[in-house]
Amino acid sequence: MTPPTKTEPAEHGVRLPRLSHEQWSRTAQAFLRFTDPPLFSMRPDSIPADGFETDDRSRLVDSSLLRDYRAAAETLAEVVVTNGEAFAKLTVDGGEGDAPTRLRRMITVAWPRAYRRPLTTEEIDRYVAIGMAEPDFATAGNDDDKLRAALRVLLRITMQSPHFIYRVELGDPAGEVKQGKYLVRPLTPYEYAARLSYTLFDSPPDEALVAAVKAGGESFDATSLVDDPRARVTLLRFHKALYSVEASRSMIKDTGKFPGMENLGLDAAKEAELFLDEVVKNGGSLRDLLLSRTTFVNQRLASIYGLPTDGLNADQFVPFELPPERAGILTRVSWTGNEADLFERSSILRGVYVTRKLLCTPLGAPPKGAVESAPKAPPTLTSNREKVTYRTGGEACAGCHKQIINPNGFAFEGFDAIGRFLTDENGVKVDTTGETHLDGEKITFTGARDFMEQVSEAEQTHGCYVGQLDSWVLGRPLAAFEREGAAPIAQRSNHDRASVRDLLAQLITAPAFRSVVREVP
């Protein structure tokens, strides 16, 4: 792996990624041997605009969250010491003997489930001492009550400890390599097992995974982990975020112009979810996501798509093949409807999405005041395309809009604000043609399907997708050297038509996923 340049962002030095709230809960479940993850209300994390829900940059520990952690830890500690079944489940790790003996053994055996690594002797000694120093430990009448006294404080400490809250990834010093100004250090087997498990399953590693990673060493092959059903759930979450499915759930349409379309977003998001999961389940590739016409619709969506509605109802979503003008996720109601306003499709939103998120072409923000000062389209212009072209034709706007944003949006001009296919608008044929650039070459297209077919062949599309999947997996934006490292995987996506699952497998076995990088102190 090539080390980062000095201009790389500081995030690449992070090795204390904080658990998500779901992960915190599942770690507590595994630690305490609960049947289900305990539910707590925790201060939600915000998601960076240029990142995903896995992005660690916003996972700060602030006072609000600390109070939530404390409340959760105190509640769970009380459950364990007051509920006989819960107490037995945890203390079984202590075996037989007097209270100090059982306490030491319990910390030795059970605490690695909390910290995802064995504790050092010093840590064990310290926890035993803290537990035995509790006032109630000395006065308790029997060994179980002594253990309860010790656990009451130790569980509070443990579930608020930085070793519980963060994935502490310090790496294996024995394998450290100095490269220029940087130190590249492989993850320890415990760290790698934790990173794999939290990334793919949103849960702490189980003993089997830890043992397998330890036994396999550098040659451990994590590829088969992506076949676990939990990894499919992870991929669905990624795709829903990437294709704005969650955002589409709340789309609002003017019911005067679009009667009967209240809460359309709920149906649209459901369809998108079913489609995205179907592609992954069947071993589909990025091309399938971008081109497939397979879908699942209820009665309302079928009417929007121009499909027969006989026998359909509002609740059941049944498989269908969409008409030929559609191609992939970006021609569904969820995306076309989301990239629109209450009344009208938004060629600009669509173009910006395609440019930034489908092709990863950087776009700056509009110049200050450009939006406000854009001229109003005269009433003589009849089509949405004409109006958008007029409004964005000024000097301040044309640089991005004329060459990049508008053409990429106009490819989808044939879908109105609720995703219906339009052939004419106010008596004029809808113009979905255009020219844009892919892989640095000019291309022309006739409409959404033609556009998506060409996009799905472009190197930059696959590079963009793999980069975003890698960013999801690593929980942060990629550095240039990491994007370069993922280039062969992007090529497999394009030229070998590798499945999405296979791409994920490649990423979690890549050097970037198995190591930490930091600056030389």
Binding site: G13, V14, L60, R156, I157, S161, L170, I252, L342, V371
Partner: protein, 525 residues
Amino acid sequence: MIRSNRRRFLAGMGGLLVALPFLEGLERPTLADTMDRRFLLNFRQWFGVQQKPRFGGTYRDEVERFWPNASVDPGGKVALTRQLLEKTDGGGELRATGELADFASSLLILRGVRVMDLNGLHRPHLVQVMTGSTWQKTRPGFDPGDDNNAWPLHETLDALFARSLNAPKPLVFEAVQDGDSQTSFENGKDGAIPSMISPMRHPSEAYAKLFLTKQLEGKEAALRLRASDAILAELKSLRADPRLSSEDRRRLDAHFDAMNEVETKLQCLPPDINDASMVALRDADKPKLSDASKARWEAVGLYNEYVDSASDAFLQIAALGVACGAFRAANIVMSPQTNFNRSTVFDENGSEFSQGFPGHYHALSHRAFSHDGQNDDADNSEPEKGALAHHRIDRWHARKFAKLLGLLRDAGVLDQGVTMWTNENATGDHWAYDMPYIIAGSAGGKLRTGQLMDLQSGGVDPGDTVDDGAIRNAAMAKQMPCSRVLNSVGAALGLTNDDKSPLSEFGGFQGNLPRITGNLPSLLT
């Protein structure tokens, strides 16, 4: 030391004491030295203010009694001084904003601001004031055709602010209220429509919840302290690991600060309830203490005598909370239901209002004076007296706002945040142009305070006042959309767009009209 300053300014809240945090051993500055004190308070009045409407309407002939008595052309500005704010019209009444004369240099009074959609009456305007976006008719479970169920398109600015700071969501204090105040909204979960933040209506309960329930005593407190000490030791040990990157250390430092803040807040002790400074809180509790029937206490009518004390108690709680760092965003919604009696509104300088007055505020805003302000159908029955009564009510609100500013100034935090006086309408006849956006506090020097600005872009043409449609069109064309004011306040408070530039993309939706965003550089330093 800043820490002692902190103790001093909290003491200014009325005897509040802050014990030194237990995290004394930290090798880095504690929170008290580094605390980010930004806050956003919204003081909300109902039913518009008494002003001379620029584009006409029912009250076109009324005397101007709200805005400062200064000649400012549309697009212009003038420096605010005590003298200007106290200037009357030849011996006439003090303008309502004149009650704020003590705070001239901390004020940014904005005239010429409209909501995004001037259609509708009360709620359609109200929900735009802090979202800067038009409204929708999609209140869950209610008749979509009823304007009174108007719902915002998205979260309000205070919610965005709190969310951006990872702070607790905004608080809503309703100082005597019946029904929804529809003041603060957070974005719905999983894309659902925005949800209204539930209000706190009992000052003493709010006080206890915010400041007292965090107190622990005896065994449990000692146990929590032992756990905290052990966690702190682990944090320090981990932070000392040489294998950490500088970014890791920054992250752990933030964690330290958060621990410090939590523990400090534990000891953010309120004054004793019998302290002289707590008179408002005690008074606000009187009905509850004297009346065994809680249902009767909650009946609107019984509140009326306690408007002053309930309002004052919430003002005190709001100021204490932001000074203490207990919360960052709060709304104090003044009462829409109250009978403003002689003592609160009309008993100035020992002279009783000539008619006596049991009036109903809403009816008064419609100038229904001849029916003792108790009949909304008697609109404009005695316009001059009604207008004067409305003005007196505006001044009562202004004095309450000034009281809030005074508490914040005494606590040393007035200029650390932004405190706004807003209204659901601009006038009693429901127009929502020239909306009061009375801003106080510079957000740490980021807002250009000490100014009166008219943000309207041009003068009023004769044809603008012909009928409602003309008024609406003229105001829409010439007045400043409130989205731009909110973006400016947000930018001053350090909020940013997705690309980290100062906030300019909040709200701005106008239905089928082009979205209007952007902040106003003229308001920012």
